[in-house]
Symmetry: D2
Subunit: 89 residues, 4 copies
């Protein structure tokens, strides 16, 4: 269900990206192309946030409530890693 | 010519994005999806940098060497704007 | 204990920032100033990551293992919010 | 003149940063600390944008209107570099 929403959003981004490719093919103004690429990145950020939200509610909560210490540490480490990376892209 | 390289890179990103959509359809692990989205964003950043590079060499240089003060101000303002936005996406 | 490490790191950033103020006072080259500001931001990102890491291990784990559903939802929502914000700064 | 404004803004950021150090010393809630650090980063971004703006109007314009091709290429390369970096911090 939730996947359906994510897929829909990513397909919208794909359409947007195809529009940008067309802009470049038609020799659009550079700055306009950069702005559209930035808009795509902002949209992708939103998708990531929504995926993370679902992940925290489901997998992370299950892992932390579970009895497997290694698994608990693993899911928390992953959150830190994607947070660290998110500042860099 | 330069456009050809940009188009090629954007089409590679499009292929990458389609791969991510497939991952979500096949119910891939959330964190793996987020990481792939971050990789796409990093690739888009690189495309923006390359477009800006070409823009500075061509349009901006021409405008600044030209006699139209308004046009000079306009191109410089745009650089500032995309720089400002780049910190936010 | 962990706080001590965070304080030390933030004080290093403060020293770095004071160095940048001095650079501007001494009329340093703009691009060098911008680069130093970017280095400060990268250092601040690292501090945030380390604070988040400690927070996940302690507060978030306690909340999720606890019986208060509202509290669980609150801590997870906060993670999503700082993740969302981290992409914008 | 313009430097005075930049110095004032950076000193405000320094005050903000000292406040954050105090928060950590007083054992403030982790997420509140992260949010304040993100606010500092947003403020630093604004300072960078303003410095770049002044740099484009003065140094870059002078270099591009000048006759030194190497110098022209150098200033443009620097713009591309700080733009590239800005996406990463």
């Amino acid at each position: 269900m939730e996947n359906q929403a994510t897929i829909r959003r990513l397909k919208t981004v794909e359409g947007h990206l195809r529009g940008v490719i067309r802009m470049v093919e038609e020799d659009a103004y550079c700055i306009d192309v950069i702005r559209q690429i930035q808009a795509i990145e902002a949209a992708l950020n939103k998708v990531s946030v929504q995926i993370l939200e679902g992940h925290l509610d489901a997998c992370v909560t299950a892992a932390i409530q579970g009895s497997d210490k290694k698994e608990r540490e693993r899911v928390l480490k992953e959150i830190t890693e994607v947070f660290e990376m998110s500042a860099k892209v």
